[in-house]
Symmetry: C2
Subunit: 294 residues, 2 copies
């Protein structure tokens, strides 16, 4: 199977799994469920689920088992976008080519949508997974929570808030992104590996790989934000500059930022070398992250 | 040990356990951690932790083990209060006698505080609990998530939002409160019982008890909101009437609402009868919920 075919298959199964995990909009409270589905379904490249499946495939994990952590990580990501778009945060009106959740519904509903999507992530990952020891599954829940909370993604958002209008060093910018974006990308990779009963040393190697692609993802994001159009991105372009947020492009300049991306891409490939051929999907995903235009 | 001494001991150990579960305000991001601690520590009667410990004591559960679900449930409760007080929801400025989180800090920080407190609840409850089978602990996490999400507490908030300015029947009001308040109270009781390895039929009986005190709690809340002062409550009194929210008092009248509280109190006591003397703390807590003035 070539990479685009594999990617499309994982995106489709993730869409089905998300659809099944979210309560039907026929169930009460209907408006909340409708808004949750609006915020999650029918958009997004599903980068984190792809990483989860790709990491699991190294260890022969069952795709049906991988769907659970893939969905959980994507729900955490989706909740963070809904809250990040709220007026008191980024106050954004466009996401994945559609009005943001609070624009389409209302602010109070969007607040509850984010809250309930986060809960749904933990609800989904606490369903017993067949073939996974319960103790390992607890570790997976702990890993997801740690990556998402005040010392992970939510903490990264707080650092981001504090950074608006500030001059950051490249080290401070990296610290912010390791939390804001990197922690959940790392969790996606490691949760996939856990489903294949990966051993501690393999998890450690994959953690290093994940740290690189987490940063790579952000550097490319900053380049796209500076250079791509709103129509291509499906979200407001040039937002970071307009909001006076520090980015790799405005700290390093575009050409240095691109050189940094190439270096991280090479480092990520190197970190996969010891897994050999089974890591092909992660290798290809690394390139996809660099070459994407969304 | 008499009831006030027991209650005070549980409140103190819960305060210590919450203190230990929350990241120090010296850790980055410091402002977020400071705000999380502000929202949780040094206030509240800890009704849910008390219920958790009281239910666990029926089955001889270890207090040190009970601290984890007690903290997790209280963190979920605390997150819901922070988000509920936000301008787009109840827009309240006073909570537990102090300025609400978004007033003391700012709205974006309060949003992240609620988000991170929810995550912290699942992080705390996914730490391995000594003496509890991992499979049972997974069930406990699933129970907490189900009680908190769109079909539980968050769903109840959505129903509450939709009910403002509406004429509800008593049945619709009950449906709202079973979700908004009842689900988490029920989770507190059942999580405590799980720590004592309660059997399914005992859990079912306790579930019925919990449903009654969940409603009882709300009926008393409505009576207090109508009759007590802001100084006594530590939160804005008369808020429900001012916001044109349906309450037991405005649907039934004060005297009928009080009669309903007495009936629920008796039903709750009856539901405990088969547990005998070991259920003494739950029996006393039921009375405490009725006689409280906060």
């Amino acid at each position: 199977m070539n990479f685009p075919t594999w990617m499309s298959a994982i995106q489709q199964r993730t869409e089905s799994a998300l659809e099944a995990a979210l309560p039907s909009s026929g169930l009460a409270p209907a408006r909340l469920h409708e808004a949750m589905r609006y915020a999650v379904l029918g958009g997004g490249k599903r980068v984190r689920p792809l990483l989860c499946h790709a990491a699991g495939s190294i260890f022969g994990a069952d795709s049906a088992v991988l769907d659970a952590p893939a969905v959980a990580v994507e729900l955490i990501h989706a909740y963070s976008l809904v809250h990040d778009d709220l007026p008191c945060m980024d106050n954004d009106v466009l996401r994945r080519g559609k009005p943001t959740c609070h624009v389409e519904f209302d602010e109070a509903t969007a607040l509850l949508v984010g809250d309930a999507l986060q809960t749904q992530a933990f609800q989904t990952l606490s369903n017993r997974l067949s073939g996974i020891a319960a103790a390992r599954q607890l570790d997976m829940l702990h890993l997801l929570a740690t990556a998402s909370g005040s010392r992970g993604m939510a903490g990264g958002q707080a650092i981001d808030l504090a950074a608006v209008g500030q001059q950051l060093t490249i080290g401070e910018l990296e610290y912010m992104h390791i939390h804001k974006t990197g922690a959940l990308i790392r969790a996606a990779v490691l949760l996939g590996a856990h489903c294949g009963e990966a051993m501690p040393d393999a998890l450690e190697h994959l953690g290093r790989f994940a740290n690189r692609i987490g940063l790579l993802f952000q550097v490319v994001d900053d380049i796209l934000d500076a250079e791509a159009s709103t129509a291509t991105l499906g979200k407001t372009a040039g937002k970071d500059a307009a909001q006076n947020k520090p980015t790799y492009v405005n700290i390093l300049g575009a050409s240095e930022a691109k050189a940094m991306a190439s270096k991280l891409q090479q480092d990520a490939h190197d970190a996969l070398a010891l897994f050999g051929e089974p890591a092909v999907r992660l290798h290809e995903l690394t390139d996809f992250i660099v070459e994407r235009n969304f």
